[in-house]
């Protein structure tokens, strides 16, 4: 199974890092799409399908919490697993995002295998290492 992943982060450096980590993770990625905030992510999703979304929390225009909330309310987009990637490790923040509808939470810094595990858990599958 080849995955299409959407990375939502306002930092080009972090988007680039996540792409590299996905490459190293052993997951079979067919395409990585990028958005710099929640609003841009929603606009992008109107025209394409992705298998999973990795989103930061702290972003301009529309932050990660609002993005997770909007996706959970949408008839179709709620089917896409959303994983939060954040520096915030506090239990209250994690619980709030998971309650809103996020399927996983990865704290920065993270290793490739951690990201792989969280993505696989959210999809309920195990992908072969290339």
């Amino acid at each position: 199974m080849q995955l299409r992943i959407l990375i939502v982060d306002d930092s080009p450096a972090m988007r680039s890092f996540i792409r590299r980590v996905l490459d190293l993770s052993g997951l079979t990625i067919s395409e990585c799409l990028e958005a710099s905030d929640g609003r841009e992510a929603l606009e992008l999703l109107e025209g394409t399908w992705v298998d999973a979304i990795l989103t930061d929390i702290n972003m301009p225009r529309m932050d990660g919490e609002e993005l997770v909330r909007r996706l959970a309310e949408h008839d179709v987009f709620r089917l896409i697993p959303v994983l939060v990637v954040s520096t915030d490790r506090t239990e209250t923040r994690m619980q709030r995002l998971l309650t809103l509808g996020a399927k996983g939470y990865v704290t920065k810094p993270f290793a490739p295998e951690t990201l792989r595990e969280v993505i696989e858990n959210s999809l309920g599958v195990t992908h072969g290492v290339e």
Partner: protein, 153 residues
């Protein structure tokens, strides 16, 4: 909050972030950094956090070290990394180190961390409150961290 506690959290956070995100190793100095340790020719970023406690965090990275970290973070050759990209990486590192320090000090509290922003070269930031500094040797240069806790929080 004890200074020693913050010093230990800074050391653990920097080691974790640099090793995981840049695949590099750091050596923490045994003593706290002073004003003289802060490079005037490197890349600096700072941010604020609000919660219990509130305060700020500043990261200064010497030029050569910033170039190496930028290349490692982005998975590129050093000559391919622009000054702007070095700045983005130092901002991201500041964000992650600060978040990691806060979670080590107060795991049960939610913090709001502002976007890190670059500090003009050589600029210093006046601050009222407690400052805890620590510097780290990256081989190619020094990284200096400054964790600030607002008075009364």
């Amino acid at each position: 909050m004890e200074s020693n506690e913050v010093q230990a959290a800074l050391a653990s956070a920097v080691e974790e972030v640099v090793e995981t995100m840049c695949f590099a190793s750091v050596i923490a100095s045994s003593e706290a950094a002073s004003d003289d340790d802060v490079s005037k020719s490197g890349v600096s970023a700072e941010l604020r956090f609000e919660g219990d406690p509130s305060g700020g965090f500043r990261l200064d990275v010497e030029s050569a070290a910033a170039r190496v970290l930028g290349a490692a973070f982005l998975g590129r050759e050093e000559h391919e990394v622009t000054d702007a990209q070095q700045g983005e990486v130092v901002c991201e590192l500041a964000n992650m180190i600060c978040g990691s320090v806060l979670s080590r000090l107060e795991r049960a509290t939610t913090f709001h961390i502002t976007h890190p922003c670059l500090v003009p070269k050589g600029a210093t930031t006046a601050y009222v409150g407690t400052e805890v500094r620590r510097c780290f040797d990256l081989g190619e240069g020094v990284m200096t961290t400054c964790f600030r806790i607002q008075q009364g929080t």
